[in-house]
């Protein structure tokens, strides 16, 4: 008998009588931009409103004057990144500007599917990360977030703020392994 068969047989023998699977209600909630912004700022993220979407490029450059290597889908890039880009090139990226699908007001998270990442490692390997989000695309809670997703085909992250740690004496430090800062540009 393989381990698979052994384990499944033991599970079948030991699992209790079936109990019902509950439906998860929607619970409603606040899906306002204000709420999303306040929560994201509270966890170390930055929110920038871009009044004129045509000037996005300019606004981003203005905010990151020292970023020399910029990988981007939504503004002009200085380095082209694809799934085949070698690791050394990825490691040198100062700023990645990617398109977020929607934000979650209750926790400041933005859904970033693999298809929007140029390379799956880009959002975490880049020193800084900027996500561009349409201001209408905010849901209240994670229930609505998953309802909107429906499925996760290959890979995706709910990304809430910059990389952080509190592993040394519970002192919060921003910039653990992933992006040192996160800015959401609302268009």
């Amino acid at each position: 008998m393989t381990s698979r068969e052994k384990i499944l047989a033991a599970v079948r023998a030991n699992q209790p009588y079936e109990t019902p699977l509950p439906d998860v209600p929607d619970f409603g909630g606040d899906s306002s931009l204000d709420r999303f912004t306040a929560v994201l700022q509270g966890i170390g993220g930055q929110v920038v409103e871009v009044a004129d979407a045509a000037r996005l490029d300019e606004v981003v450059r203005h905010l990151y004057p020292t970023a020399r290597t910029v990988a981007a889908e939504v503004i002009s890039a200085t380095v082209a990144v694809t799934p085949e880009t070698p690791i050394e090139t990825l490691a040198a990226v100062d700023l990645a500007v990617l398109r977020g699908e929607f934000g979650v007001a209750e926790n400041g998270a933005v859904w970033l599917p693999g298809a929007n990442m140029l390379h799956r490692a880009l959002p975490v390997v880049s020193q800084h990360l900027a996500l561009v989000l349409r201001r209408a695309d905010i849901v209240a809670t994670m229930h609505q977030a998953y309802a909107r997703l429906g499925s996760v085909d290959s890979y995706g992250i709910f990304l809430a703020g910059p990389s952080k740690t509190a592993d040394i004496e519970q002192s919060l430090v921003i910039g653990a392994h992933g992006a040192r800062s996160l800015t959401v540009f609302l268009v």
Binding site: S3, R4, I7, L8, A10, V11, A13, N14, Q15, P16, Y17, E18, T19, P20, L21, P22, V24, F27, I43, P83, I87, E88, V104, E106, N107, G108, A109, H119, R120, A121, P123, V124, V125, T141, H143, Q144, A145, Y146, A147, S151, V152, S154, Y155, I157, F158, A160, P162, S163, K164, T165, A166, D167, I168, E169, Q170, V173, G175, A176, H177, G178
Partner: protein, 454 residues
């Protein structure tokens, strides 16, 4: 050594004990603040509990559904009956790649299986990439908390460790600078990693996806730079539907640290083009626990650590005093299932105050299970002799009102006349080591009652 003996060692440093106690209580308070801000939080706990109960009741089905969907997504699924088989499978995958450099993100399961020593023994470099895990790996210690693995250490300890291993300046204690040093050191490891190992927070049966939650981003960085991803999961990590994640992601981090959600909630369904993804499903005693009606609810645990942060015993004894991969109240009900004799003292490392049960996001009746384990241990003859005989004696006294009354009288008089050094001698009155006995009353309640109520 028993839990209380190990706690004695922890308690030698009073200042540190107080710091540990207060810091974890602070985390508990952050949890409360986050929880009270969600009006439906108690409903979410009930939903989470019901979803987990249901999943365990149909685990046979969901395991196969998950396997089928994961395979369809191009993921290799492996089954491991115990820790040895798990370690063998992981090593085989690494070897089949001709790889020697492995980066690992947080996984309590691989700690449970002692994967690292196994890999190192076979010539594989394995680097823990979670900051707290890396610190304790460099110090050759075990994690002392499921969410805050290095909570037993002070920044001075970390500075010393980094000075020795990473070449930082001696005496460096600034968390920001220490973290930056670790970032630089670990970046090199990430960029060179050939295989990435991760744990699994949730495995979704209907999609075949695994979900990993981190704040540092180390799982995503490791997995997406390496050629191969190996996700190691205990079989109880399953949930039926993608929509169930709505419930669990809302509960997990609020309960753990008081954050609204982890920075990265990452969903791995398919490997990237040209890469490989493996999932190892591990039993290692879980099916046995599933067959114990009194204790199977412990398999609902989502490893948030809330029961540790709130536990008055854990906070004042430290994670290492439990001498088990998962410390604290939840560890004390999981460990006897693995080795009852070795962990016999853990269900007693509790005041049964029930605070763990109150904060548990999946409503595990932790303190009730602690109490039930005590009964099981008593029947199995695993109680220490002092406990066993004193309980026997006490039950005789309590069953005989005459002896009870005489004993009370003797104690009241004795306490008045015997010298303090004798009544508070730590040798046979350990209760009085840090406490004063109350002044004895002149008469007992029964005497008072007989006099007053005619």
């Amino acid at each position: 050594m028993s839990h209380s003996q190990k706690s004695d060692l922890f308690l030698l440093d009073q200042e540190r004990t107080t710091w540990h106690d207060e810091t974890l209580w602070f985390v508990r308070q952050k949890r409360d603040k986050a929880v009270y801000a969600v009006p439906e939080f108690q409903e979410l706990r009930q939903l989470a509990s019901d979803i987990k109960d249901h999943t365990l009741s149909r685990l046979h089905f969901y395991l196969q559904q998950f396997e089928e969907n994961a395979r369809r997504n191009g993921v290799h699924v492996h089954w491991a009956a115990d820790a040895d088989e798990h370690n063998r499978i992981v090593l085989d995958i690494i070897r089949s790649q001709g790889a020697t450099r492995v980066v690992k993100s947080k996984s309590m399961l691989t700690e449970e299986c002692h994967l690292n020593p196994h890999l190192i023994q076979h010539g594989v470099e394995v680097i823990d990439t979670d900051l707290g895990e890396r610190i304790i790996q460099l110090r050759d210690e075990a994690p002392s908390h499921v969410v805050l693995p290095a909570i037993h250490l002070k920044k001075e300890d970390v500075g010393e460790t980094f000075w020795q291993h990473l070449g930082t300046e001696k005496g460096l204690t600034d968390p920001q600078q220490l973290t930056e040093a670790a970032r630089q050191h670990l970046r090199e490891k990430f960029l060179a990693g050939e295989v990435a190992i991760s744990g699994v927070n949730f495995a979704v049966a209907e999609t075949g996806s695994v979900v990993v939650c981190t704040n540092e981003g180390n799982a995503d960085l490791g997995v997406n730079l390496a050629r191969v991803h190996i996700a190691c999961m205990g079989m109880e990590k399953l949930i039926p539907r993608l929509s169930d994640l709505g419930v669990f992601t809302r509960l997990l981090t609020r309960s753990a640290t008081g954050q609204p959600v982890t920075t990265y909630t990452s969903h791995f369904t398919r490997p990237a083009e040209g890469k490989e993804m493996h999932v190892v499903i591990v039993d290692n005693g879980r099916t046995k626990q599933l067959g114990r009606p009194d204790f199977r609810a412990s398999l609902k645990c989502i490893r948030c650590g809330a029961c540790m942060n709130t536990c008055p015993v854990y906070r004042r004894s430290g994670g290492h005093s439990y001498d088990f991969t998962i410390p604290g109240p939840i560890g004390a009900i999981l460990s006897p299932n693995i080795d009852m004799k070795r962990h016999a003292s853990l269900p007693f490392a509790s005041t049964l105050c029930g605070s763990c049960t109150d904060v548990c996001p999946v409503k595990i009746d932790i303190h009730t299970q602690l109490y039930k384990w005590r009964q099981v241990l008593g029947q199995a003859g695993e109680l220490p002799a002092s406990k066993k005989w004193s309980m026997k004696l006490l039950s005789r006294v309590l069953a005989r009102p005459g002896i009870f009354g005489a004993g009370g009288k003797m104690a009241r008089h004795g306490l008045r006349f015997l010298p303090h050094g004798l009544t508070h001698a730590p040798g046979y009155n350990p209760w009085a080591i840090a406490r004063e006995l109350p002044a004895p009353p002149k008469q007992s309640f029964r005497e008072w009652h007989a006099q007053t109520v005619k």
